[in-house]
Amino acid sequence: MMIKKLKWPIYHIFVAALAVGMVYPVLWLLMSSFKESNLIFATADSLIPQPWIWENYKIGWIGIAGQSFGTFIMNSLEIVVISTIGAVLSSAFIAFGFARLNFVGKSFWFGIMMVTLMLPHDVVLVPQYILFAKMEWLNSIKPIVIPQYFGIPFFIFLLIQFIRTIPTELDEAATIDGCGKFRLFFRIILPLVVPALATASIFSFYWRWEDLLGPVLYLNRPSLYPVSMGLKMFLDSDTVSNWGAMFAMSIVSLLPVLAIFFAFQKYIVEGISTSGLK
């Protein structure tokens, strides 16, 4: 009995210590963003800023290369919103076809989809760049957002799994009432898969928000840059004087991600547990 009583505190101390270790880097970044730039590394072993200052956020927000950090955020939001609408709706549309309809070659295309799920993006990197350059899509968000409208294999897979849990009796009843496949999808299935749409939207938001490779390849004007490129510019001009501003804007760039994480944790955990999404 004694051992069992002792075990719980030890367990919690261990698990909590590990948790502190996990978040310590982020905590360090946060606290450093309130320190004077020239003190960040001199006092790297202490979390408490002395003195506390807000200047880093003011300086960081002014931005870099003549663009305010607000511009980067608006550019990111534009990419994220346009991409996510396309990725989620097209994936749901496609998933319905795979989950509920019968047609010649269905298993072939399903197999193709599962292969593209694992295909390394590097294989198509160069030709895609050439294709988009030939179409004169460079220096616009088109190469980043338009491919999203053709379905994202991970989301298609997630939505197929979800649609399969909906009883087919609903389809049959609707069909007897004279409901066609399109109405069946838009009126009956789509409203029922909203939780899976939420999961897909969250992941689409994360992936587009943090995407660096797309903007590096396709956007060459600072006025078009999203947050990831704005931060990269801070890093490229990495000097003692702007560490604080760079840290402050790093924190700003993480805020939307963290807000969504804490608000919609349930959908995220479900998405990962059921389909292995990262």
Binding site: V126, I130, S250
Partner: protein, 299 residues
């Protein structure tokens, strides 16, 4: 058997149409183009000129950077992925109890996976490992010498590996879901038989989780092979010191968009595809020995 009418096919292909078009346009045609570019000399400006297998022979006989990047990538994958998965499984097993605080811990452990791919976190990581950074302060506290992480290639790679292991949360969640699905009767029966925790782990937990472990290993290996952002940010796009962080994707990117050698980069992409296909194939092949699928017709 019901034959499929033209109308059914038409409706079916209308729904999956976007995927089919997108696949042809953004995957199949580019993949074939990439195969063609890989046997040409192409700098984007002039037309591609056919040079046969020259890119491939150059790669394997004359490019020490290619081997350096291959070595770094293999180390990154074969150290990072097992460490990450072992850690994920360990923590999942610890958290698989009925405590009320589990939800909170799970959230905290999972957080790094959510933010880990961002530029902000790579910038943070870069600074943690600075000469005056937190890691060196911590090492000094333990009475160890500072490490010059940005000067020694072997040390530099550990920045990338630790960043990868730090993001064990998504695998942990998948393992947690798997652990919850193991029937409690299995453990009860083993208690009666007097099996200890170690035997239970190897005889029940591991075999029952093995399909999930296989799935995780494959996805994480492919993901690790394609890692780009941390190497790009932490080394400021150079892959240094002395190619110590020159992950394969970064080297491919540099061949294509720094040296504008599109043919060589395409050849590298195909070698990467072949390596990933071989690794995945090997994992599936060995899985017959260690992956345990529940027999059908049970329950």
């Amino acid at each position: 058997m019901k034959s499929l009418s033209l109308k059914n096919n038409l409706i079916g292909y209308t729904f999956i149409g976007p995927f089919v078009i997108g696949f042809l346009l953004f995957t199949l045609v580019p993949a074939l183009a990439s195969l063609y570019f890989s046997v040409t000399d192409y700098d984007l400006l002039s037309t591609p000129s056919f040079i046969g297998m020259e890119n491939y022979t150059e790669m394997f006989t004359n490019d020490s950077k290619f081997f350096a990047s291959l070595k770094v990538t293999f180390l990154y994958v074969f150290i990072g992925v097992p460490l990450r998965l072992a850690f994920a499984l360990f923590v999942a097993m610890i958290l698989n109890t009925a405590s009320k605080a589990i939800g909170l811990y799970r959230t905290v452990y999972y957080l790094p996976s959510i933010i880990g791919g961002s530029v902000a976190v790579s910038i943070m990581w870069r600074n943690l490992y600075g000469d005056e950074g937190v890691i060196n302060h911590f090492l000094n506290m333990l009475g160890l010498d500072s490490v010059r992480w940005f000067a020694e290639p072997a040390a530099a790679l550990w920045m990338l590996i630790t960043l990868s292991v730090w993001q064990f949360g998504s695998s942990m969640l998948i393992f947690l879901a798997g652990l919850k699905n193991i029937p409690g009767e299995l453990y009860e029966a083993s208690n009666v038989d007097g099996a200890g925790p170690v035997i239970r782990f190897f005889k029940i937990t591991l075999p029952m989780l093995s399909p999930i472990i296989l799935f995780n290993t494959i996805m994480q290996t492919i993901g690790a092979f394609m890692t780009f952002v941390p190497a790009y940010i932490i080394s400021k796009g150079e892959g240094g010191p002395l190619d110590g962080t020159l992950l394969y994707s970064l080297y491919l990117f540099r061949q294509a968009f720094v040296y504008f050698d599109m043919g060589y980069a395409s050849a590298m992409a195909w070698i990467m595809l072949i390596i990933i296909a071989i690794l995945t194939g090997l994992l599936f092949w060995t899985s017959k020995r260690w992956v345990h699928y529940e027999s059908k017709g049970g329950h």
